[in-house]
């Protein structure tokens, strides 16, 4: 092992435009989307036949048959079959966590290059048989005689035949993510208007970035989609104001389909390497991976909101790096819901939260909104859970490269299970 850590640099990325659940990618599996996205990355960077250090990716909604999803994608791609791969899953933090893993291995000198990211399909989600039927089938497969098999199957009741579709709900609370977030939004007094403004800005800024060609070297068209399917350039605060709340109940409910991310399909990957590997392959570095932090909160007892973990992770990361919010040139805060972003910003401005919860002397500070999600985020692009981290890392790395060496970017991604994955990149 080297005495000194080497740098890990982000060289670029590739994603497919994100689709709406049941939309353009309704017939595409996770395997198909991830393999195509990987092949697009390989083509963009001329890596056909190359053995990379590793490929790490994951999916949140995953079929049992896809246990080796990422390795299968490598074998189905133009990369050398000798490139190792593994799956990783940390809910919506999956994509960013894979980047952290690969970057850390590069920094330690264990690999010289790698691809990280993820894929998700809400359209092709696995459906499990009900628990009664599953147990009966397992019993029948263990049975040694036809009689025993018949007896095992006879235990099936009509109600057992209803399939179990995956629900977007926390196992311990039974609340959906939106219902959890509605509690947080109310607690922090996040207004409907502020949420709709953030959502409209996300659509307008993402549309402007597509129009300006910003994604030309970050995305590859797939199955008739050349832009994100859920993108609504013509939306406005007025239009969004007309939607009815879908999360939270009764008076004061603020969260609508317009200011919450839709279920989506898509894949995104990032190419990382050591500076030496990048030089050998004549690939310019976009950004340097600086550091990362993961926090978790106790949402089960109601002590903290489900999606508030990044509010804890970011201050810890900034403190470790000796930085403040003012040192950050670009903020990428994943828009699970508009109110998630706004509650996080409000928490950092709150003296009570920052002293009581974070143990700081005063408020962490204010995020300059002109530096926040400047090319849009998940409300407009969509949010195929494990793909979001890869989308954000590649987007931010390119932005920082455009800003110039030394520019800093912060990524914050909230995740199911009360976790938050955050990271800092520095422009090259």
């Amino acid at each position: 092992m080297p005495d000194q850590l080497t740098d890990a640099v982000i060289l670029g990325g590739n994603r497919i435009p994100f689709g709406k659940a049941g939309g353009a990618y309704a017939d595409a599996s996770n395997q198909a989307m991830l393999t195509s996205t990987l092949d697009g990355l390989v083509a963009r960077f001329g890596l056909a036949g190359e053995r990379l250090g590793e490929v790490a990716a994951g999916a949140v909604l995953k079929h049992a048959r896809d246990f080796n999803l990422t390795r299968e994608a490598v074998l189905g791609s133009a990369l050398a079959a000798t490139t190792p791969a593994y799956d990783l899953q940390q809910a919506c933090g999956t994509g960013l966590e894979t980047v952290i893993q690969v970057a850390n291995k590069i920094r330690l000198g264990q690999v010289d290059s790698g691809v990280a990211g993820g894929v998700d399909s809400a359209s092709d989600a696995p459906i499990a048989v009900g628990e009664g039927l599953r147990k009966a089938l397992l019993g029948a497969s263990r049975a040694r005689t036809p009689m025993a098999r018949a007896k095992a199957l006879a235990a099936v009741r009509p109600g057992d035949l209803a399939p179990e579709t995956p629900r977007n709900a926390e196992p311990r609370t039974g609340l959906s993510m939106g219902e959890h977030q509605a509690l947080t939004a109310r607690e922090w007094g996040i207004t409907r208007e502020a949420q709709d403004e953030l959502a409209a800005a996300s659509h307008h800024q993402l549309a402007a970035a597509w129009d300006a060609g910003f994604f030309d070297d970050l995305a590859t068209g797939f199955l008739r989609l050349s832009r994100d399917e859920g993108l609504r350039p013509e939306t406005s605060v007025d239009k969004l104001a007309g939607l009815s709340p879908v999360f939270g109940k009764g008076e004061g409910a603020t969260m609508t389909a317009g200011n919450s991310t839709p279920l989506s399909d898509g894949a995104a990957l990032v190419l990382l390497g050591s500076p030496q590997w990048a030089a050998e392959h004549r690939l310019p570095a976009l950004a340097r991976f600086v550091d990362a932090e993961v926090a978790a909160v106790d949402y089960v007892s109601g002590d903290e909101g489900l999606l508030m973990a990044p509010a804890y992770a970011v201050p810890r990361l900034l403190a470790r790096q000796g930085l403040t919010l003012d040192d950050i040139d670009r903020f990428e805060i994943h828009e699970a819901f508009a109110s998630t972003v706004l509650a996080t910003l409000a928490a950092w401005e709150s003296e009570e939260f920052c002293t009581g919860r974070l143990g700081l002397d005063g408020p962490l500070g204010t995020v300059d909104r002109s530096r926040l999600n400047v090319h849009g985020s998940s409300l407009a692009a969509g949010h195929p859970f494990a793909a979001t981290g890869g989308r954000i890392v590649a987007t931010l790395a390119k932005m920082l490269h455009d800003l110039g060496p030394g520019s800093r970017g912060l990524i914050s991604v909230c995740a199911a299970g009360g976790q938050g994955v955050v990271a800092i990149l520095e422009g090259c």
Binding site: D27, A28, S29, A32, D39, L75, G76, A81, L223, R224
Partner: protein, 309 residues
């Protein structure tokens, strides 16, 4: 392969295969056979939008992965209704029911995207003697605008009918040992030769594979659908579509296929369903491929990939 003097029959929709089959069966008697002439017509179908759910089904049944660029065998499937329409028409010299697909060649000039609108064309040429009768080629082209992106050549054997004046025993060049009739002992040497040596995959083909493939490929020839309907045509059980086997092999080697390539397949012995078969390769790279039974003693398909072109 272009013929300048051909008539063009412009189609405004994909011909229905079932209708063509019915026409072919109803008008099969009394055709001149090898003494007759191939129709000079070229069928052209412009403005073909590819059906994404059907392509996804095709990829699933043939072991491929849905991607933005489509398999070469999918383009064959798109031209198949035109082939059937031409072969069933009254001016085609042979009765369609006796024709056996013994070989297939394709050239992919560039990857074709699923979003591209295609112009398909098909015609017949090269009526040639074969040691078992005659062969005729159904040639296909796929264009995007004017650009030629795919060429296909399906060779069909008509048993026991040799063109007049042709010396018997002269064998058509590409499809020498094709014997789709399924006789267990009368096969040529190639059927017995183990061929390319290394086993690289084992596939278990279910009894209903012919029905699954027929649904996505639109080729509902009764010899593929069930044991009963296959028996009516002299097969002990349903047989796998040769083009399924072809598509399955191409899907298996897809990650290593160049962007531009030529592929040639010979359907040697039919695969009776259900069945377990293996894919064998000649060594490093693509080169020679074969599908045989598990023991390697019976060859079902020989394939050669050449590229990049």
């Amino acid at each position: 392969m272009s013929r300048v003097d051909v008539d063009v029959e412009l189609l405004d929709r994909t011909p229905r295969v079932a209708t063509s089959f019915a026409t072919g069966v109803a008008t099969g008697l009394g055709r001149p056979g090898a003494r007759g002439e191939l129709p000079g017509r070229r069928l052209v179908l412009p403005g073909v939008r590819q059906d994404l759910p059907r392509l996804a089904g095709f990829c699933e049944v043939t072991g491929g992965l849905l991607a933005d660029t489509v398999p070469a065998t999918w383009l064959h499937v798109l031209t198949f209704p035109l082939q059937v329409r031409l072969m069933s028409a009254r001016d085609f010299p042979f009765p369609m029911l006796g024709m056996v697909h013994v070989g297939n060649r394709m050239r992919v000039h560039r990857p074709v995207r699923v979003s591209e609108e295609l112009t398909l064309s098909t015609w017949a040429e090269d009526l040639a003697p074969h040691r078992k009768g005659s062969t005729v080629d159904l040639v296909g082209e796929v264009r995007v605008g004017e650009e030629l992106v795919w060429e296909g050549r399906s060779t069909y054997l008509v048993r026991g009918d040799t063109p007049p004046g042709a010396p018997r025993g002269e064998v058509s060049e590409a499809m020498g040992d094709a014997d789709a009739g399924g006789s267990p002992d009368g096969a040529g040497a190639a059927a017995r030769a183990a061929g390319p040596g290394r086993q690289v995959a084992l596939w278990r083909l279910p009894a209903d594979l012919g029905r699954s493939y027929a649904r996505v490929a639109g080729d509902a020839n009764p010899i593929h659908l069930s044991a009963l309907s296959a028996k009516a045509f002299g097969f002990p059980r349903a047989i796998a579509h040769g083009m399924w086997t072809h598509a399955r092999v191409l899907a298996a080697v897809q990650p290593r296929l160049p962007q531009r390539y030529a592929v040639s397949a010979t359907f040697v012995k039919p695969i009776l369903l259900p069945s377990t078969v293996v894919l064998r390769t000649g060594g490093q790279g693509l080169g020679d491929l074969a599908v045989t039974d598990r023991e390697g003693s019976r060859r079902h398909l020989s394939m050669q990939v050449d590229g990049p072109l």
